[in-house]
Symmetry: C2
Subunit: 163 residues, 2 copies
């Protein structure tokens, strides 16, 4: 299981996300995995994901925090229920709030490591703490409050009643 | 002046941003303008800027808040000095922190209005309050803490000493 990335298990109808959808040809294809009790994304921004010359665009970094946050929340929810991410019912999370602190400029042109850790679970809300490491230096800290999508809504989307 | 958008006045070297750089062919080309004492972006996300079917990706909305926040901070700084954005020295801001609350899903396929207002100025820091309106409904609220880039750093970038 741990070789697979979380977003691989999202139902097709929920796999179009510009940030992490495997079915979005124009998207970023952010891929999250477990690494012990933490989660990780390894991602090399494209040369055009630029802020000022030499540095990564803040909105791209916010996107990494966003999708890795909801992915981590989902993975943690499955883990808490002791079942694999390809089992049903599908558990999916949406972002309720996103916070990003840009501690230092993040260099462009290298692989970044986005790390995540579940900070708190309150009912259907999961708070995920994250940080981005570039060349061994933490350049960004972020937090996502993710909310579980009601099961009925996931089913409605899967059954084509979502639009 | 008010017909022009803020990002039009950024020095070329600072006009490559993936969110708002006029010189980034792959970028979003976010364009901010004054409207009285508020600032505004009108932006229609592309069909592939999707979260789940029918709704806009949260990272795209965060990008709108991000670039409109730094743009608003810069425009407000020029206005405070009583000079136009094409005058020197160039005043540019970077994002220190970004907060986004997703109040409701934001519908995809229509023009969004991103509005901004300067909430606080503390020395070189400007706090910008923002909200996104879709079909007359506020779907997102955000806040950017923007920090003025030291003049010497802008000059260094313009003179090609930035890398």
């Amino acid at each position: 299981m741990s070789e697979h990335y979380f977003q691989e298990y999202y139902p097709d109808i929920m796999a179009h996300c510009y940030g992490c959808g495997r079915l979005n040809p124009q998207g970023h294809h952010i891929q999250s995995r477990w690494e012990g009790d933490e989660t990780v994304v390894r991602f090399t921004p494209e040369p055009y994901h630029i802020a000022v010359p030499g540095y990564v665009y803040g909105g791209m970094l916010a996107s990494l925090i966003d999708c890795h946050g909801t992915g981590t929340a989902a993975a943690a929810a499955y883990r808490a229920e002791g079942r694999s991410m390809d089992s049903l019912p599908a558990l999916r999370f949406l972002t309720a709030s996103l916070h990003v602190d840009y501690l230092k400029p993040t260099p462009l042109g290298i692989e970044l490591e986005v790390r995540g850790k579940v900070k708190e679970v309150k009912g259907r809300k999961v708070v995920v703490e994250e940080w981005i490491v570039a060349n061994g230096v933490t350049t960004v800290r972020g937090e996502v409050v993710a909310v579980q999508v009601p099961e009925g809504m996931v089913e409605a989307l899967v059954n084509g009643e979502g639009n």
